[in-house]
Amino acid sequence: MELIQYALDNLDLLLTRTLEHISLVGVAVGIATLTGVPIGIAITKNERVAQLVLYLASIIVTIPSIALFGIMIPVLSLIGHGIGYVPAVIAVLLYSQLPIIRNTYTAINNVNPALREAARGIGMSPNQRLRMVEIPLAVPVIMAGVRTAVVLNIGVMAIAAYIGAGGLGTFISRGISQSDPRQLIVGAVAVSLLAIVVDYTLLYVQKRLTPKGMERAAETA
């Protein structure tokens, strides 16, 4: 009861923090999509480069987020952004690369070779093949990668509160430092709920973006 009372009393703050959180993750994953998808497509042209890029992206994910923030403080201090919004977004951007690049790469590589041959055989240029056939067919899998990145990084972003980026993590960090379980639990629950809600929202978007003729195939897959 105490918890709910606390949440209701601080509804405004909770809302502000949630929006902060969403905008941080949104901006970061948005930029990550804009970079990751083209990288994922580009590396389908060369198997060795692909393995290298995926390897690097995997290494990045293994770096603990708190350590990544630590590394960035001295580097970004040089441009006056050692803490706060910029390092938080950069961290999430980096963590998002792996799921987005990997899913794009896999999806484009897994386009049925017969379709690729048909597309070549009827005289589509490589760009037309990408635009008219390969990317539309890869969209569901690419979107699944984006969803993974978003859900993963809603968690990561909670830690960014420690470098002053704001977001729902603020409740958690204050809860810990002030030994206030109310703030701690409200923050944690809010982060989880946000992850679930956003995941379902993106699932809906993914279904809308799936080409119509593939719906049945996508459902059985």
Binding site: N112, A114, L115, E117, A118, A119, R120, G121, I122, G123, M124, S125, Q128, M132, V133, P136, L137, P211, K212, G213, M214, R216, A217
Partner: protein, 387 residues
């Protein structure tokens, strides 16, 4: 017209160079279907795919309608060649209409023109435009999908088509139907077609010419009848199968060997007269009875004619079967075996008796071709031995 001039493909594999197609030279005249036939790995598909450069030739040239394609832009070359593959390869993200019109769009046709074309094509492949154009490939059966695949290849009305085992993945019943439909279309369209198949029966049915491949080499390039009658070597012979004489039955029509000499009786004749005619014509078992329009109505058997008195109209048996002039000998043979008979009456389009076809005439006709082939082979052997 498609002309291949010393077309060669060498694949570099870890085990060394593999010659997939070895100096293939051949010519397909305008408006004909040429079947590339052979076991898997014989180079037939590689040869086909070098024509539209899905496989880049190592050396040699391809001419289409007399024009060397070597320096043509790959994309525009492909847009002017219809391409049908076994896996069909319709784009699942596009409607049937979008699939069919993709090449016209690439060629920059305006919208009204390619939409009109889509409806024309649907009519050609006998699918209702309003029912199908807005649907997606996964809503169609395999046979319907491959019809769409053929329509897509025909969309921009290319003079040349390449078909890579186009009907291979379709069940036998539908396959026969689609083959017939396609042949009917081809009679009007007169495309120059290269068609890969590993099925000798399909090759004989569809091909104006057949090119037999083995281990990257073109072994024999002949019309189906020549191929079956005179296989060049043991490999071709074994590939065609031991029943290759029977396969020729498909190629010969009744009108080529029908004999217009046929004795008949009419219902008003007596059985005595019938017996006399049976003897006159030297028939073993029976004679055909026809009405005043010369339509076959019954059979008078020798046994009945000899032992019974009366008129033919009261003592006839049913005619087991008749054949038309356009039927092929395979159907005739099948009817003969089914009815345990050595001859069948032939009827014209109005159902009037116009002759008969006998087992003897069939075997003689097929045998003549083989005897001729043997003589040529012998003559050739003699000339070489003289040299």
């Amino acid at each position: 017209m498609i002309k291949l001039d010393n077309l060669t493909k060498v694949f570099d594999t870890p085990k060394g160079a593999v010659v997939a197609a070895d100096h293939i030279s051949m010519e397909v005249p305008r408006g004909e279907i040429c079947i590339l036939l052979g076991p898997s790995g014989c180079g037939k598909t590689t040869t086909l795919k070098m024509i539209n450069r899905i496989v880049q030739p190592t050396s040699g040239k391809v001419f289409i309608d007399g024009e060397d394609t070597t320096d043509m832009d790959t994309q525009s070359l492909r847009r002017n060649i219809g391409y049908v593959i076994q896996q069909i390869g319709l784009f699942p993200n596009m409607t049937i209409e979008e699939n069919i019109t993709v090449v016209p769009k690439l060629l920059g046709w305006d919208k009204a023109r390619y939409r009109e074309r889509a409806r024309e094509l649907m009519a050609m492949i006998a699918l209702e435009p309003d029912a199908f154009l807005k649907r997606y490939p996964n809503e169609l059966s395999g046979g319907q999908q491959q019809r769409i695949g053929v329509a897509r290849a025909l969309a921009a009305d290319p003079p040349v088509m390449l078909m890579d085992e186009p009907f291979g993945a379709i069940d036998p019943i539908n396959r026969a139907v689609i083959q017939d439909e396609f042949l009917k279309m081809q009679q009007e369209l007169k495309k120059t077609i290269m068609f890969v198949s590993h099925d000798i029966d399909e090759a004989i049915k569809m091909g104006d010419r057949i090119a037999v491949f083995r281990e990257g080499k073109l072994v024999q390039y002949s019309e189906p009848d020549d191929l079956l009658a005179a296989p060049r070597n043991a490999f071709v012979e074994s590939f065609l199968g031991e029943d290759r004489a029977l396969k020729r039955l498909n190629l010969v029509k009744v009108n080529e060997i029908v004999s217009d000499e046929i004795g008949t009786v009419s219902p008003g004749d007596t059985l005595e007269q019938a017996l006399a005619r049976i003897d006159d014509f030297g028939y073993q078992n029976s004679i055909l009875m026809v009405n005043d329009q010369r339509q076959p109505v019954g059979l008078i058997t020798r046994a009945v004619a000899r032992t019974t008195r009366g008129y033919c109209r009261d003592h006839f048996q049913n005619v087991p079967a008749t054949v038309g002039l356009d039927d092929d000998l395979r159907k005739v043979a099948s009817l003969m075996f089914a009815q345990d008979t050595t001859w069948l009456p032939c009827v014209d389009d109005e159902g009037r008796v116009c002759g008969q076809i006998t087992q003897r005439a069939m075997t003689h006709h097929l045998g003549a071709r083989f005897r001729a082939a043997e003589r040529t082979a012998q003559a050739a052997a003699e000339t070489t031995s003289k040299e």
